[in-house]
């Protein structure tokens, strides 16, 4: 085995010390839109401590046991319509991903859907956003954007804990009554919350069908949340969201970005993960929403 010597660089670390996680949720200007009955019957609400039986680890499972994703056909309903299929055009080719509306003209997605030095060749040229897409049906049309923002730790060092970006739209899809909220919660508040994960996977659906799955938040670290929910390529950037109660706005607590593999040993599980919404991220998202509103 060949060993390499690593010398501490002269520069000090620019990785910020995590703030103490506190509860911070973007404020909705109005009462939440009531969930349609069909949605209420589908989504998971609140917490559960019921143990979840994991499949045996063979090292290379394609999915977590049987694929439990459900195709959502009624994509014109709230909150499904807030989830958007992304068609990404970048210097090194095309890709697909998922985004979601956090403001009338602001989408949140994974950082690697707008900027990836290794995969996309840098910033995307443009992204076509289709809200509530279901195959060829686009009930709210599509919008093209070439204005994106991401966070400095992602841009500078592709730090997966900050794999978060915004897509800025010239025109609104919906009003600010019908958008996701984002929330930072303490470890104790997050643990055991039932989580909903939605997105537009390549398979099934060719990136043209919305899928939803549920499970329980298994673990949290200062900047990640971990859950065993079936997902696959194309779902990057999708919302990982909770409902404190069935009359609450859906609150996004993580931005789905990574599949199985490479989970830290300290977690002791093979699960997928999302950069966690922390107070600094809530504040940055609020700035993005305000800036988009101001340029309207």
């Amino acid at each position: 085995m060949k060993l390499e010597s690593i010398t501490k660089p002269d520069t000090e670390s620019d990785i910020p010390l995590p703030k103490a996680v506190e509860t911070l949720v973007t404020q909705a200007p109005v009462e939440p839109t009531p969930l349609p009955d069909t949605v209420k019957r589908r989504v998971v609400v609140g917490k559960s401590s019921t143990p979840i039986e994991l499949p045996a680890d063979t090292g290379l499972e394609a999915v977590l046991g049987a694929d439990e994703r459900t195709r959502i056909v009624s994509t014109e309903l709230y909150p499904w319509k807030l989830i958007c299929a992304l068609d990404i055009e970048a210097p090194w080719g095309r890709a697909i991903g998922t985004g979601w509306l956090v403001g009338p003209r602001t989408l949140i997605t994974a950082g690697h859907c707008v900027y990836d030095r290794k995969q996309l060749g840098g910033w995307a040229h443009k992204i076509t956003v289709t809200s509530g897409r279901d195959r060829e049906r686009a009930p709210f049309g599509s919008k093209v954007s070439a204005r994106f923002s991401t966070l400095s730790p992602w841009l500078e060092r592709q730090d997966a804990d900050f794999d978060i970006a915004a897509i800025h739209l010239e025109q609104a899809f919906f009003t600010d009554q019908e958008v996701f909220r984002v929330g930072s919660f303490t470890d104790a508040e997050l643990t055991d919350f039932l989580v909903n994960v939605s997105g537009y996977p390549a398979s099934p659906g060719n990136g043209m069908e919305l899928y939803w799955a549920k499970n329980r938040i298994k673990a949290v670290t200062p900047r990640r949340i971990f859950y065993d929910v079936d997902t696959s390529g194309g779902q990057s950037g999708g919302p990982s969201y909770i409902f404190p109660d069935e009359n609450a706005h859906p609150i996004v607590v993580g931005i789905h970005a990574y599949g199985l593999g490479g989970t830290p040993a300290s977690i002791g599980l093979r699960v997928n993960s999302a950069p966690r919404i922390i107070p600094e991220v809530v504040e940055k998202i609020q700035e993005w929403i305000a800036a988009d509103a101001a340029t309207g």
């Binding site: 997966a160 398979s203 990574y258």
Partner: protein, 87 residues
């Protein structure tokens, strides 16, 4: 999570007659290192580029007509050519 730098690999998705699968989607289905859950769209001749850290991965492809295929690959620090057949 692996901190190893991803390496950009080139690959091609082909149909049973050997032609390139135009506009097929390619993604990492599973692996020994964490990878983004983005899916890459092939060009008109079925070619794609995929950044992977060193490790073992199952790469899956789905053609627009619904045909799928997958291949298991072991990657290292050197770029290689990946081949995925859909049937």
């Amino acid at each position: 999570m692996s901190d190893a730098e991803p390496v950009l690999h080139r690959g091609r998705v082909t149909t049973p007659d050997g032609a390139g699968a135009s506009a097929a989607l390619v993604f990492v289905a599973s692996g020994t290192a964490s990878t983004p859950e983005i899916a890459i769209r092939c060009d008109a001749d079925g070619w794609f580029r995929l950044a992977l850290p060193p490790g073992r991965f199952v790469i899956e492809a789905r053609a627009p007509d619904g045909r799928t295929g997958k291949v298991e690959v072991t990657t290292g620090a050197v770029a290689q050519e990946l081949a995925v057949a859909v049937d």
